[in-house]
Subunit: 333 residues, 2 copies
């Protein structure tokens, strides 16, 4: 296999979930062109619905594959028009009947654009992904009293949005307490009644906490719970928190991570260790098989967006590292 | 006129804009029943569209009456279905042809539920309204960069909602700086794209500042402008402020305010001086005639709401104070 090298340039941009598939196919094409045979068999997998844009939950295919979800549950999920996953798969001819099993997998690799700005900020080509952050998401409901903004003195208010502003800052602070890998984000916030001259009576907001260990996540959540009650008391409102998502942190397999690192170094590519902040099919796969991931930079860290963009040479570099790592693991049966 | 006293109980609840009209009619009925003749003529006015719920601007009738708006402009305003004020008035038979003039008015009184919690908190019956707070309203647009919540480290974020949380607290602080009469409210706040795992790229919010003098309003706005730029710099976002509403503070006429105070004391009602936080037709009328207002308590300060409620004895007390004040002013031609 010496001399095998990927030089076909994948078409640029709009990759995200598809880059991993195209990278796998590119590796296969190159190995076939070079007549390479490996000791262990290789497969490319195309997971159904990683993004969760039309159907939830996200990472549906890999989740069902590893047994996180029952297949019947997944097939019954509906989009906004009431169409089920099962119906949608039938309509495009993709409703298979094979039983799947997550056993017997020697190694799982996934290439992906970073979806973040770290590699670009460091001007590096390859992110050696050592694991993925754990996630705990909450729904937060803050209940005060709506009242007329003019006649209601400041001292007699129960302003749900003022309390919410303290929660937003608290979430930011929780992440900074555990820098550099922790994250804290309020992405969604709805005000009721949302009228210019009415003191907000209630606010609903989302909290997304991420960290590289369960101990850190737990510390963040404990502080959130304690401080939220102080904020509620001070603001004369009530605050209710409900956990809606939990993904434990995933540590990838050392030997596979090393294979990725070695691959990059062998080719002479600049690289750094990174932790994935986003969820990926690899996070589920790490529960049933040795797993690692390869990140390549994307412009301004932007993904899930029309202006998502990645350089062809970076996408090609990621394919080459993937090939080297796969071959290193496939050299024994 | 000695012995005239209102004891007919107005029907309770759902008064708000209508209480002033019913109170005026109640005074007239009582004076007629008692055969009272005054030196100066009395009139009851029913202003069109004080609330602005279907058509904007608010306080449309009194605003046109005093010349703040041209009549043609008001008649051309449309509701959500494209129906103009002129068409709506025609369809209910209220499209008059008389020219109106704000001259020759010796005194203007308006009774109103407080729409706030102050009288109730002090367990008092009559609010002697000495004037109305000035108002400056702003649209605020905060522009950061939307990014994926997981992969984007805290240090590389441009979080528009985090910056907005500082603006919300600043607005609260501006009002507390000028206690007890100043008000600061963020009633409306919209987040884009408003998705759980996306760092907010932009936030639009409303700011409503009120104070009892233009000097205070100006001081509040100056601090808002200065601090907003610091918040923008610190949060690596841009913040644009646009003033959308300005009502100058209105000081009511001393002799009329004294007539209200004397009326309450003569009847033996508890009273306190208050400043109206809300806009009223009286605020426009104060520009063309000596003006005062009478407030009565409403339950929990709530108005513009199905659960708005006021006690019959308070509504009746307000009518009696109105009658005494009107008679005091109408005793000379």
């Amino acid at each position: 296999m010496t001399g095998s090298h990927i030089d076909t340039q994948p078409t640029g941009g709009k990759f995200d979930g598809n880059y991993g598939v195209l990278a796998g196919l590119e590796v296969f094409k190159t190995l076939n062109d070079a007549g390479v045979t490996t000791a262990a068999p290789l497969e490319v997998v195309v997971w159904t619905n990683e993004e969760g844009s039309r159907f939830v939950p996200v990472m549906m295919g890999s989740g069902a594959f590893i047994g996180e979800f029952k297949t019947d549950f997944i097939l019954a999920q509906k989009d906004r028009d009431g169409i089920t996953v099962g119906q949608a798969l039938h309509s495009i001819g993709y409703a298979g009947k094979d039983q799947v099993s997550p056993s017997g997998i020697g190694a799982y690799f996934e290439a992906h654009i970073e979806q973040g700005p770290v590699l670009e900020a460091h001007d590096l080509t390859i992110g050696v992904v050592t694991g993925a952050l754990g996630q705990r998401w909450f729904d937060v409901v803050i209940t005060g009293s709506e009242a007329h903004a003019g006649p209601t003195p400041m001292s007699l208010r129960h302003d749900a949005l003022l309390a919410a502003s303290h929660i937003v800052q608290l979430i930011n602070e929780l992440a900074l307490d555990h820098a550099p890998n922790a994250r804290g984000t309020v992405g969604m916030l709805d005000v009721y009644p949302n009228s210019r001259n009415v003191i907000p009576g209630s606010v609903k907001l989302s909290v997304d906490l991420r960290a590289d260990s369960d101990a850190t996540l737990t510390a963040m959540v404990n502080k959130l719970n304690a401080r939220a009650q102080e904020i509620a008391k001070q603001g004369k409102v009530s605050i209710a928190l409900t956990q809606v998502v939990y993904f434990p942190p995933a540590a990838f397999a050392n030997e596979l991570v090393q294979a990725v690192r070695s691959g990059a170094r062998t080719i002479g590519l600049s690289e750094m260790d990174v932790v994935s902040g986003a969820g990926h099919d690899a996070v589920y796969m790490a529960r049933v098989a040795p797993t690692a991931m390869i990140f390549v930079p994307c412009k301004d860290g932007i993904s899930h967006n029309e202006i998502e963009d990645a350089k062809s040479e970076h996408l090609e570099a990621g394919c080459n590292v993937l090939m080297h790592a796969m071959l290193a693991c496939a050299s024994q049966p």
